[in-house]
């Protein structure tokens, strides 16, 4: 089975501080891979590294990122641009700010289609309408004519999912695509992503801090803590036989899937001290860059 995304020993620093400490993970084609961890673990940094939109202060010290078998770690901006959209797409975290407030929905979807497929206006419009159906938007004609601020959060997230799937990418990165939504809408959005992913056989890197969500829609998973991988494997294996005490603590703390995900109960103090010590030891071994 070939990996659509393979990250190997990726190490990234921001202003000399290690934020990713030799992170490795693989997303096989057509699979959904969960990237879990508490706030600040470095999940977004992994996503940004793949997309090539790291903050200006971030440096890739070592490691490799391969997409569909080709190394993309140090791609030029121009090469990466050719890859984005059709190869890799993003479903962003916050549907409130991820759509351009100045343009109607139609403009934003049609723009993507024209940009990537060179479609004519009418063809792109028909395609946009079709996409709106696929993400189960009722009254798509009306929604296409609306501005982002006129839509609810769930509606905007559907539009963003439509945009992400518009170019039939091979890999989609979803950075906590449902945290800003309420629970019912959240569930619908997750089901929609899963449905489209299965139909298109898209690989998905699914970033979240909710283990319940992982259990629901992911095939494989990686648990990240302080920029280090502490657990990885298939979702069943990780849930049945968690190898690391941190994963066990997370599981104990995870609310049921259909409850609000915000509160991961605190990890035992001794454990978090151990983890902090391990991170420090890692920094000492590798130098703080």
């Amino acid at each position: 089975m070939n990996d659509m995304l393979a990250i190997e020993a990726l190490r990234i620093t921001i202003a000399g501080r290690n934020v990713l400490r030799d992170v490795s993970l693989a997303v096989p084609q057509g699979h959904v891979h969960g990237l879990v961890g508490e706030s600040g673990a470095g999940k977004t940094m992994v996503a940004r590294a793949v997309l090539g939109i790291l903050p200006a202060a971030a440096r890739v010290i070592s490691g490799h990122i391969a997409f569909d078998g080709a190394e993309i770690t140090h791609m030029s901006e121009r090469e990466r641009r050719a890859l984005l959209g059709r190869g890799i797409a993003l479903i962003p975290q916050d549907p409130m700010t991820a759509l351009n407030p100045a343009f109607r929905i139609e403009h934003q979807i049609v723009d993507v289609l024209r940009h990537h497929f060179g479609l004519g206006r009418t063809a792109a419009r028909a395609q946009a309408l079709e996409l709106m159906h696929q993400v189960h938007i009722r009254a798509p004609e009306r929604v296409l004519r609306q501005f982002p601020h006129e839509l609810s959060g769930g509606m905007r997230q559907r539009v963003l999912i439509a945009i992400a799937f518009a170019c039939r990418p091979k890999l989609i990165i979803a950075d906590e695509p449902s945290t800003a939504l309420d629970v019912t809408v959240q569930r619908q959005v997750l089901r929609l992503i899963k449905h489209l992913q299965a139909r298109e056989n898209t690989a998905v890197l699914f970033v979240t801090h909710n283990l319940g969500v992982v259990a629901k829609i992911c095939d494989t998973m990686t648990v990240l803590h302080a920029g280090r991988v502490v657990e990885e494997g298939s979702v069943e294996a990780c849930f049945e036989r968690p190898a690391h005490a941190y994963t066990r603590a997370l599981m104990a703390a995870t609310p049921r899937y259909d409850q609000p995900a915000a509160a991961l109960a605190p990890v035992p103090e001794a454990l978090s001290r151990d983890l902090a010590d391990e991170a420090t030891a890692w920094d000492a071994r590798h130098g703080a860059a």
Binding site: R81, A98, P101, F103
Partner: protein
């Protein structure tokens, strides 16, 4: 300012706001009408002297001549005609100067705000240095050096006021560029310039229209000051500032000579400010409903 806060906090639309736009637009329209049709509207040639009819009072006073509705000046020139032609100069300077200042300031503000880093540091330092000169003094010195005339007045205003656009645009772009829609534009494969011009700029445009409107008001004042001190067009040519300067000499004898151009300036500036302020709310995409 306080009023705006309250509006944002309560989400209410103020009743006065549409009135301000209407008021400002009406004044601007009248000003433009006067400027464009000055040759048709003016009852006399604005520079024709007739010492037989000097110091005629305006129409409502005793001894007024209906041929000179707003009276005449010390050389018997028709005040109404001179005011109308003055509007021409005021508006020409305002439009061209505000446009050029806006263009220069916006381009530099976009660059500084989007790229940050040394580009921003460089542009911001220049702005800081610029702002340490007193603006009116700077403009007077500048025009004194490059010679008087309409083009010098325009250059002076641009040189002084591009910083206003630059600072505001830079700050706004910094806010905009951290919005997810900009990252989303990058992740669908849009290049930097395309992102700046077709994604960010439309979101800054409402602000630019507001600034443009306010800047026209400022340009009218600066033009008046420069013509008041005799650094604008040749002195027998009617400008509002020049009219005030001439009227000043006879303020006891016929105060109206000074009052009329002042009223023109004040009304124009008030109108442009009202328009700018009113538009600020109308054009905000999030508040647009």
């Amino acid at each position: 300012m306080a009023e705006r806060r309250i509006i944002q906090a309560t989400g209410m639309r103020p009743l006065v706001r549409p009135g301000r736009v209407t008021l400002g637009a009406t004044i601007l329209a009248l000003l433009a009408f006067a400027a464009v049709f000055a040759p048709l509207l003016a009852p006399h040639n604005p520079i024709d002297q007739d010492l037989m009819v000097s110091f005629l009072p305006p129409f409502w006073s005793d001894g007024a001549d209906p041929a000179y509705p707003l009276g005449t000046d010390s050389l018997g020139r028709d005040v109404l005609s001179r005011l109308l032609y003055g509007a021409r100069i005021a508006l020409t300077v305002a439009v061209i100067a505000a446009f050029l200042a806006g263009l220069l300031g916006t381009v530099l503000g976009l660059l500084a705000g989007y790229f940050g880093g040394w580009v921003d540091a460089l542009i911001s330092r220049i702005v800081d240095i610029w702002l340490s000169f007193p603006p009116v003094l700077l403009s007077i010195v500048l025009v004194a050096v490059i010679g008087s005339g309409l083009h010098s007045v325009i250059i002076a205003i641009v040189v002084i006021d591009w910083t206003r656009f630059c600072r505001v645009v830079r700050a706004e772009v910094m806010v905009q560029r951290n919005q997810d829609y900009v990252a989303a534009a990058v992740t669908i494969g849009l290049g930097r310039w395309r992102t700046i011009v077709s994604e960010i700029l439309p979101n800054v445009a409402p602000l630019l229209i507001v600034l443009f409107s306010l800047e026209m008001g400022i340009a009218i004042i600066v033009e008046a000051i420069l013509s008041f001190v005799g650094l604008s067009v040749p002195s027998d040519f009617p400008t509002w500032g020049g009219l005030i300067q001439e009227g000043r000499l006879y303020v006891n004898q016929s105060p109206w000579l000074m009052v009329f151009p002042m009223v023109c300036i004040i009304l124009s500036v008030l109108g442009l400010n009202a328009l700018g302020d009113g538009l600020r709310h109308r054009l905000d995409p999030v508040m647009r409903r």
